[in-house]
Symmetry: C2
């Protein structure tokens, strides 16, 4: 895909300036949905099959996701690339904005408040955890629950 | 516009998950384009007239821009609301990602490097300057050039 201008924001929105691509990324990152069916049935926004298929192809072509090779009869698993993991600050900035300016968004608020209160250090730790799950990076020693475990615990009623 | 889920990221991408809306916001914020014609003719991505008109209506409806009342024969000026000014961290996160992962984006790199190197403090100062221009906030005393002046100077060859 040829960028339409040389501006870094423009280059980023060529890939990330799309509602469904951002929601797919959100579900891969925060809900660890790695398979087509999990992304389809888990989507609280009700993504359509053809839109999900299209956005997964686009995200792979843009170097944000990789699609694992699946044996016959097996399902392909998607993984974040390093470029994909580095979209987390964009997702967090969007979540921050939603927290402040869309106060009716009542689900998962505790999770996003934890993310925001954790600041850049928490985001770095979360990206390290994603590198372990998606890029087979060696886990770093840690006391207590991981960032994703803490985010999930925040949403428990 | 009814949000399709209660998630703050989802609520944000209902408005901001659109390429052209983000590029219009970028031009209002960083290039101080406040009029329809300036946004149309200044767009380095070549936005179409009907798309610009549509996105301006959407951004006003979403509470991100306000449209000034124009006297007969005069053009209406757009202003950022506080919610609009608070999208700057999202634009900066996108620019950061573009700097790292779309290295072919050669225009305006110096500007985005300055933005990134300045960190959250520079972003706060920039949002304060936007509040002066768009919301008639009283200017704060400052030594030397303003954030927008420094960004513009960064791009001079």
């Amino acid at each position: 895909m040829e960028p339409r201008s040389g501006c870094p924001i423009s280059a980023a929105v060529e890939v990330l300036g799309d509602r469904w691509s951002l929601l797919v990324l959100r579900d891969v990152v925060f809900a660890d949905r790695r398979y087509f069916r999990a992304l389809l049935t888990g989507s609280s926004e009700g993504i359509a099959t053809n839109i999900l298929a299209d956005r997964l192809v686009r995200l792979v072509e843009a170097g944000i996701l990789t699609r694992g090779t699946a044996a016959r009869g097996q399902r392909a698993r998607y993984s974040l690339t390093e470029a994909g993991i580095r979209t987390v600050p964009v997702l967090c900035a969007l979540g921050d904005w939603g927290l402040d300016w869309r106060p009716d968004s009542t689900e998962l608020r505790a999770r996003h408040e934890l993310l925001r209160d954790g600041g850049p250090a928490f985001v770095e730790e979360l990206m390290d955890e994603l590198r372990v799950h998606h890029l087979d990076a060696p886990p770093k020693p840690r006391d207590g629950p991981s960032p994703l475990e803490r985010l999930r615990a925040a949403d428990q009623p």
